[in-house]
């Protein structure tokens, strides 16, 4: 007779396999579809591709996918860097603050996290436009960072609250200023928190569509999600090329995740520790 423990284990594995299949199916379909011909796409949508042809990748690359990836990479790296720098310093000050006003500032930031992008998009566009930042990388980087900062502040805040105070005190006795404590002691020991923040924000910025569509409109500046939309416009029926483009767009993020996932999982398991 099987033990109760074993049955539970099998049931849990079963649920996990079902769920994973459910999540991965569309992705597998996307990759397979990118190898199909335009005809096959509609005649045999669920079959394996008849031949492993890279034609659709070439067509996708041909409309400037390389540029889109480069644009996305530039914006993602800059935004994530800015988000981590601003959130880290802000969260440190807030976590160590004793003043009521700074506590309220923290609450205001938490509230900011709850504001949906779409709700403020019109005034936001007017502001960016008035500042002359439409169609500039800097404009998009500032705006996406502003959206990413509240969540990251919350994440770092929790981490810094638990950060051993003695280390900071030892550093003060060793002659560190507040800035030196932050950059020489706290940041080097915040690997898991920084990795989690980096992964969360990289995924958000990389896939961000609405702001990029609105703020970057010259063809050479588009990011991947917006660029692929253009691919759909020019080759209305070229679904394999779109799938190929999307598959390529997934690769950089997958690499980031693989590199950082050890910290990411640890950070989630320890709630920011």
């Amino acid at each position: 007779m099987m033990s109760k423990f074993r049955i539970t284990k099998i049931a849990l594995y079963g649920i996990m396999i079902l769920w994973s299949t459910f999540v991965l199916m569309p992705l597998v379909w996307m990759v397979l579809a990118s190898f199909k011909t335009r005809r096959e796409m509609f005649t045999a949508p669920y079959d394996l591709p008849s031949a492993l042809t890279l034609d659709s990748f070439e067509r996708a690359w041909g409309v400037g996918l390389g540029w889109f990836i480069a644009n996305s990479a530039l914006i993602t790296v800059s935004s994530v860097g800015l988000i981590i720098l601003v959130s880290g310093t802000a969260a440190y000050v807030l976590a160590r603050a004793k003043s009521v006003w700074l506590r309220m500032a923290y609450i205001a930031i938490v509230v900011g996290f709850a504001v949906p992008v779409a709700a403020v998009i019109v005034p936001l566009y007017q502001m960016v436009s008035a500042a002359g930042f439409v169609n500039s990388y800097v404009g998009l980087i500032i705006v996406t960072s502003a959206y990413g900062i509240p969540f990251t502040v919350i994440l770092f805040f929790a981490f810094f609250l638990d950060f051993p105070k003695e280390l900071e005190e030892a550093a003060r006795l060793d002659g560190c200023s507040k800035q030196q404590i932050f950059f020489r002691i706290i940041i080097p020991l915040s690997g898991p928190a920084v990795a989690s923040a980096a992964i969360f924000q990289a995924v958000f910025v990389w896939n961000e569509f609405l702001l990029a569509l609105l703020l970057l409109n010259s063809p050479g500046r588009k990011t991947i999600p917006v660029g692929i939309l253009q691919l759909q416009g020019e080759f209305t029926s070229d679904w394999p090329a779109i799938m190929a483009g999307l598959s390529l767009a997934t690769v950089p993020l997958l690499l980031v995740f693989i590199v950082l996932q050890k910290y990411f999982v640890r950070s989630l398991a320890g709630l920011g520790k």
Partner: protein, 378 residues
Amino acid sequence: MSFLEITNIVKDYGAFRAINDVSFSVEEGEFIVMVGPSGCGKSTLLRSLAGLEDITSGSLILGGRDITRDEPADRGVAMVFQNYALYPHMTVAQNMGFGLKMAGQSKADVKVAVERAAKTLRITDHLHKRPKMLSGGQRQRVAIGRAITRSPDVFLFDEPLSNLDASLRAQMRVELGHLHAELGATMIYVTHDQVEAMTMASRIIVLNGGDIEQIGTPLELYNKPANRFVAEFLGSPRINLFDGKIAAINAQTASIKIDGIADHLEISLSSDSGPMASGDKVTVGIRPESINDTAPWKIPAKISVIESLGRETLFYVNADPVKTLDPDAKDPLFAVHKSNQITAQIGDDISLGIPQEGVFLFNEAGETVRYPITQTAP
């Protein structure tokens, strides 16, 4: 003027006064131990000396220099923390040299200082390791090494041994004593462990509720505690206390009535005895090791607990109707210390001989009004 002058220190946290107008001075090379129960202000006082807490008022003068408002690093103090506080991302050598590096010393100078400190503490083999790879005792050595490297005027220790196990603690106690002798440095040490205080201190400061109860050498405090609090705090097992009333008194003797005992306890008085009058309520104190079999005045009792420690034996005895005054104890038992092995059974009758020479008397305010007559060994 003393090496370190601490004058009228007050530290308030909102309405709560953690340190209440504390003053004392420390001579160069002294090993000062601050003891007291949790929340007595000893750690706050130490942290105020380090500059980690801003004091509300008062002044700190170190070597003739006013350091009251100086940054921690500019005070000439180094601190060893209870949980070591080593930087996990640096090697032992980097940990020890970090202070000097921040002070802008050259790499070569830092290296020399680190190696010298490592040699003193016998951790040269570990210099390239991260703190994670070290045992608790080694980590504490590194933490001490970090302090030594900076060659401070005053070393501050905040319960540095309390995370170590008993045998390591005993070993480190001896090592710290050696280190103090070797460096000739001024050390201020906070602990709640009275054994550490008694064994290491040149002078002990007993704190209670933000006030200094008494300052003195370990034996002064043990033999001549200023009050009941100090008498209770030092000594393990704790001093036995019970209620009494002065039945008769003159310049030379006092006769004390103890409820439940027919004979009065007669004690001699001397010039250092405090004011007492007939009818005063007093608390009688007797150290566990002072109780013997030969004293004429006895309290009958029954053995409740026996602790045979090999070279010594501790009895806890029930002397009903005489109750000991110990707010923490469930049963008001007397502690008796014998410095040899004794065969006895739980439930055996025993007579507690209370020699009058060993008796402390405390008045109702808790002040000591009669000290035991101490015989110091030649």
